[in-house]
Amino acid sequence: MLAEEDIAGKFGQFGGRFVPEALIGALDELERTHNEAMSDPVFLAELAHLNATYVGRPSILTDAKNFSKHCGGAQILLKREDLNHTGSHKINNVIGQALLTKRMGKKRVIAETGAGQHGVATATAAALMGFECVVYMGEEDVRRQSLNVARMKLLGAQVVPVTSGSRTLKDAINEAMRDWVTNVADTHYLLGTVAGPHPFPTIVRDFHSVIGNEAREQVLALNGKLPDAVLACIGGGSNAIGIFNRFIGDAGVRLIGLEAGGDGIETGRHASTISGGTVGVLHGTRTYVLQDENGQTVESHSISAGLDYPGVGPEHAYLHDLGRAEYRSVTDAQAMEAFALLSREEGIIPAIETAHALYGAMVLGKELGKDATILINLSGRGDKDVQTAAAWFGIEL
C-alpha cells in the first residue's frame, strides 16, 4: 500500500500535483526538505521536544464508560487530541511544518482555515517561531467561528476574510494558493489537511501519525489487544489519517471515516465527498470531489465549518477504493445529538467536527455489541462551537 504512494505522490489513481507551474519549484523544495528532515535525528529530536513540552504530547486515552451506554455498550476509547495546546489535533501538523519552514529559511507563513483551529494553530506556531502569519478564512466561517478569529488576532496573525465563491474553506484555499503563487520565494503555505498537491498529503499524514502511534500503544497497554474499529471525522481527512495510519497494516481493525452529511446526502446539501461525490481534481490533487457535470465544484454544506469542504485527501479516496477503510455520513442533527450526549455524559464538550465521529460510534457500537472496542479520535474541543451549539439547542447567550 505504501509503496504505491512513493510514485510521485500518487495513491493509486489519486493524488499527484495539479498546480500552476510557478509552484512546482516550491513543492519540489518542500518535498526535498521534508524527506531530509524525516531522516535527520536533530530535526526529529526538536519535533519530539516541542511535542512533549509545548503541544502536551502524548495525549491521553479516556475510557468513556457513560457514553458507552449510547453505543450499544461497546467500549469507547477517546484519543484526547482536544487536550493538545490550542485545542485540536491541528497543532501536530503545524509544529512539523513550522520546523520545515525554518529549515527552508522562509520567514512568512500563510494558511487557510475553516473552523479556525488550523488558523489558530498556525498563528500560535508563527508567534513561537517569529514568522509573519496571514490566515485566509471564508467570510461565512469568520462569522460562525468568531472566537477563533479573535484568538488569531491576539496571537498576532492577520486574518483575511474571503468573499469569493461559497465563502468557506474551499475559497480560503483558493485565496491562499493565489498568495502563494505570488509570494512563493519567501512564503510557506502551511496547508492544514491531508489534501492539496504532493507532497502535502504525505507531509501532513507524517506529522499526524503520532496520534495513531500513541493510541495503538495505549489501547494495547489497556486491553492487551487491538481495537475492533478506529473512527474519525473527515473534513480533508488529517485527524483521520493521523489515527488510521498506524493501523492500516492491522487487517482486523476496521477503519471508519465519518463525513459530514449536512441536511442529508439525499438533499444535496452535504459535505460527504466520498459517499456522495465523483472522481475529479480539486486544489491540486485527484480525489473524490463534489462537482457537477461541467466539472464545477458544488458547494458543500455542514453545520461544522471544519468539515465543510467539497474535497477529501487522496489517500482516503485510495483507502476507500481499496476497501481498506469505510466512509459513512452523519447529518447535522445526528452530530448535534452526539455533541450533547458526550457533553452531559462525560463532561467533555467536543468540537462539532468530532461529534460526527461520536455519532458514528453510537451507530457502530449498536452494530458490534458490548464486547467491541471502538477507538475514536477526539480531534478537538468545542469551546469554539459554543455559539453555534447554543443557537442549535436554543440556549440564550
Binding site: 510557478a22 481534481v281 480539486l282
Partner: protein, 267 residues
Amino acid sequence: MIASQSKLSKLFIKCKSENRAALIGYLPAGFPNQSDSIKIIKAMIEGGVDAVEIGFPYSDPVMDGPVIQEAAEVARKNGITMAKTLDIVKEISATGVPTLLMTYWNPIERYGPEKFAHDFSVEGMEGVITPDLPIEEAGVWLATAKENSIHSIFVIAPSTGDGRLKDVTSNCSGFIYAASSMGVTGTQTSVANTASALVERVRKISGTPVAVGLGVSNRVQASEVAKFADGVIVGSAFVKAVLQNPSDPATAVRKVAEELSLGVRER
C-alpha cells in the same frame, strides 16, 4: 489539420515577416452572457486581435486575480456550460482567427479528454492552454491532443529551472506561454524585466514561438514585450473594459484592442 499548418502557426510566421508580435486576446466564455460574449469577442477581433483565447469559467480559478474571477462568476451565474462554450468556439473560429481554449484541468477531465479534444477541434479550436496541468500529469492529454491535431500549450514561469524548462517547452506546440512574473492574472505596472530574461532562456533551447502573458494591459507594455516575444497575451484589460462599460462593452473592448495592436507593432 496538421499542427504546423494551423492558422495559429501561420499567424506567427506572418507576424515574423511583418516584424511584429502577435496580439492574443483572452475573454471568458459566456461573459457577461452567451450572446453578448460572442459580440464582444468579435469586437476584440475587429479591434486587431490576431488570435483568441476563450477561457472556460471555473469555480476554483487559483491562477486568476480578482478581475477574471469576477468575470468567471458572472458567466457561471448566467449559465455557461461546456456545450455553450462549444457554440462560442464555433462562431469565433468561423471568423478565421486562430481560436484557442484556456481551461483548468478538471472541466476537461469531467468532460472526458478524448471527447473534449474531438468535439472542440471539430468546431475549429486549434489549441488548449492548461494552466494547472504540469507536464508530469499531462501524459494522457498530450497523446489525446496529438491525435486530434490540437496544439498543447503549457505555461512556464520565471521559477522554472533549466532542466524542467527543456521538458516543458519541448512538449509545447503552437507557442510557449511564458508567465511574465510570479503571480496570478491581473494588471501590473511593470512586466518586462523578468519576462525578457525568461524568454531569453527559452530561445537557447527551443524554436517554438514564445508568447508572454500575465499583467500586460496597455500599449506601452505591449510594445515593450513585443521587442523580445513573438506574442503578447492580454486578458484582464479586456475583462476590465467589459466590467467598466456595461452599456457598450463591445466598443470599449474594440478600443483596447486597437491600442494594443499598435503596441505589438512598435518594436
